[in-house]
Symmetry: C2
Subunit: 418 residues, 2 copies
């Protein structure tokens, strides 16, 4: 991508009315635009990061047998009434409206109900089980306060996966497969070291639940972490009984702030029973399908990444989720050979399948280009200038490295393909 063509611009000043670091950085670097508190549009760079995160999640979900679908935002009142989750007294984050043809309609803040209801068309016998379906859905939640940037949205992208199993054993096996897949996701997007499997409250319908909590001061949760065992307990459920069950001692735990980037719930057979999703087992008996529900906050993960991977100059994207592999900078020069060299490198890198943001802007100083590159945060910066050409090549520097190294195109390519 030619940077001169990119319609977004970086800005030095902090956006007004934005207290969170992740949103400040992402707005300043041109990744997102704030539409209202908790609702952000994703600009070309931001959409690329989002799609890379989704791509990784998609691979892992397909890897454990997930089938991708996309449900609707519009929700039928009568469906949610059957599970007692329509009333604002039960669920206080509904957006609701009225159909012109009459009656109320809701906007999806979660999708267990419609997916379970839909499955009645496809599940009738134990032979139809298990079924694993997932979607990347824009969820709408009428949050009273939304001030953590991308980390708490009124409108946000979630990957939600649902499992329907014939029995508890089958359910447990998949629950564990999801746990492992989630850890792989967080590892791959760069959050592995800081993300912990956390015991959490279950809510009315769930036997138990687990969260994946990423350590960050910007998180809204407090967890008690056992670093050695790499597990944590959410403050909400911390009790002597829970500690006993998990074989943990309070004294070994560290109180830390964290953000919930993923969660997994077991609903047992209750929701299927309420909604009528029954199947015939081997003996011909009618049983409710066992439901599991597994979320990853896609846009929240992006917010957490911007919180954690940044320095005073800007964002520092992990390689796997960066919008481009390399940021190629052409520095101002009166010598036409410099631009020719940079443009040739741009073509060559692209031909090799490398994703390049090429800053070929005219009338922009070297200092401004460096500052923009740091703010945007692409992992590798490659500079072509009179100086680099005299030194025999390209000045290449990792985003957090202090010093650049001069190398030729071949070496840069092998570095980028690693």
């Amino acid at each position: 991508m030619l940077q001169s063509r990119l319609f977004t611009k970086t800005r030095k000043e902090l956006p007004a009315d934005e207290a969170s670091k992740n949103a400040q950085l992402l707005i300043r670097a041109g990744y997102v635009h704030k539409e209202m508190a908790g609702a952000y549009s994703f600009l070309p760079l931001g959409l690329r990061v989002l799609e890379r995160i989704k791509g990784i999640v998609r691979e892992e979900m397909n890897g454990i047998g997930g089938q991708e679908i996309i449900m609707t935002a519009l929700q039928r009142k009568e469906l949610w009434e059957r599970t007692n989750r329509w009333d604002d007294k039960q669920v206080d984050i509904w957006f609701k409206s009225q159909l012109k043809s009459g009656g109320d309609v809701g906007f999806g803040w979660s999708h267990e109900e419609p997916i379970t209801d839909m499955m009645k068309s496809f599940i009738g016998s134990y032979r139809d089980l298990p079924v694993y379906v997932y979607q990347f859905q824009t969820k709408l939640r009428n949050e009273l306060r939304a001030k953590s940037g991308l980390m708490r949205g009124r409108e946000f992208v979630m990957k939600d996966l649902y499992s329907y199993s014939a029995n508890e054993e089958e359910h447990r096996a998949f629950y564990e497969a999801v746990t492992a897949a989630y850890m792989r996701v967080f590892e791959r997007i760069g959050l592995g070291d800081k993300t912990f499997f956390t015991f959490a409250s279950g809510g009315a319908f769930t036997e138990f639940s687990h969260e994946f909590q990423t350590l960050t001061d910007a998180g809204e949760d407090v967890i008690y972490l056992h670093r050695g065992k790499k597990i944590a307990v959410n403050k909400e459920v911390l009790s002597e009984k829970v500690l006993d069950e998990l074989g943990l001692k309070q004294s070994e735990l560290e109180e830390v702030r964290a953000a919930e980037v993923g969660n997994i719930f077991s609903f047992g057979g209750k929701k299927s029973e309420e909604l009528g999703l029954m199947f015939r087992d081997e003996k011909g008996e009618q049983k409710p399908a066992i439901l599991g529900s597994y979320g990853i906050g896609i846009t929240r993960a992006m917010g957490v990444l911007a919180e954690l991977f940044a320095d005073e100059r800007g964002i520092v994207w992990p390689k796997e989720v960066a919008p481009y592999d390399v940021h190629l900078l052409l520095l101002p020069s009166d010598d036409e050979a410099v631009e020719k060299e940079a443009s040739a490198l741009y073509e060559r890198l692209q031909n090799e399948g490398i994703h390049v943001l090429y800053d070929e802007r005219k009338g922009v100083s070297a200092g401004e280009k460096f500052a923009d590159a740091d703010l945007i945060g692409i992992p590798v910066r490659a500079v072509i200038s009179e100086k680099s050409m005299k030194a025999g090549g390209i000045e290449v520097k990792g985003r957090t490295e202090e010093k650049a190294v001069v190398m030729d195109a071949k070496k840069l390519l092998s570095l980028l393909k690693k």
Copy 2:
């Protein structure tokens, strides 16, 4: 994909409460699920078709310089009040709700207002123009009647592109580039022959507008078509004056029903003025950016395809948008060699990058497999059975062909790679 793993099932019976042919077929074949009138979920096969259509549109939009973004569903009242499009008397298809934090909020049925408002952050000078941005957005429209299946939705996917130009000449050039790109899109997805550039009404803010109308009896529009000149006039604007301007004679025109699969509008500078999107021109004067707005109904196009490309046995997807390239059928046999042969072919085709739906289901008769293949409508059917193996290979048949031809894997591969 192993068909035994696909959670959807075909059904023989017509879905209740669904009058439109496209939705009947798509539901019966397992592409979509009806959530409510005008709101459909997309199941694995349906999502694949949707993504293929989007992929083609994305290529063509990038080809004319479009930059992809994604805006929010949530809409600020005050923005739409400035252009007099908030009031239900002006726009009667709003879904609206109330924020828990106070105040009204709308759900996006169109996005000219928020995109234009956002552009104030990025456009200040003629040097920033032109800018072309697009998105694939789920639009929400509170339609009183939604009974045409995927062809008129309360919730549907639209590709909307917006152009901001410094002057009318620049705007016109891009408008024509979009027109050409749209015709390529409709050509590629299989609607080229039946889609016509149509003169249509402009509405309050637009100087003129054009539609892309696809001939189908299921369409909601009536157009007057000049087959020789390949242009049409929407009935809504047909007048002697319009005919004169276009150099058409009423007697040469044919009255036909059609569905609007695309539209392009010129807003001039009016909306930019209302929202304050001004730029400095070469002389330092403040001018409003010229706005163009260009839509393609992605889910509607899918509905139109199902209307047009179908026979009494099911859907007949055009090659470019089919969910898979080939439907491989293993027929029941006691000879293990048959399944071995089919599975080997499945692997081989996949290794060659061919997308295969492999019907390896047990306990399903040959007749049922043939009927399912016809209903699902993948362009090429490849059958492996005792009979085909005796004949020396694979029985291959195009979806609309009467007779199968026996060929070896190599020939099938070259056929599929064409």
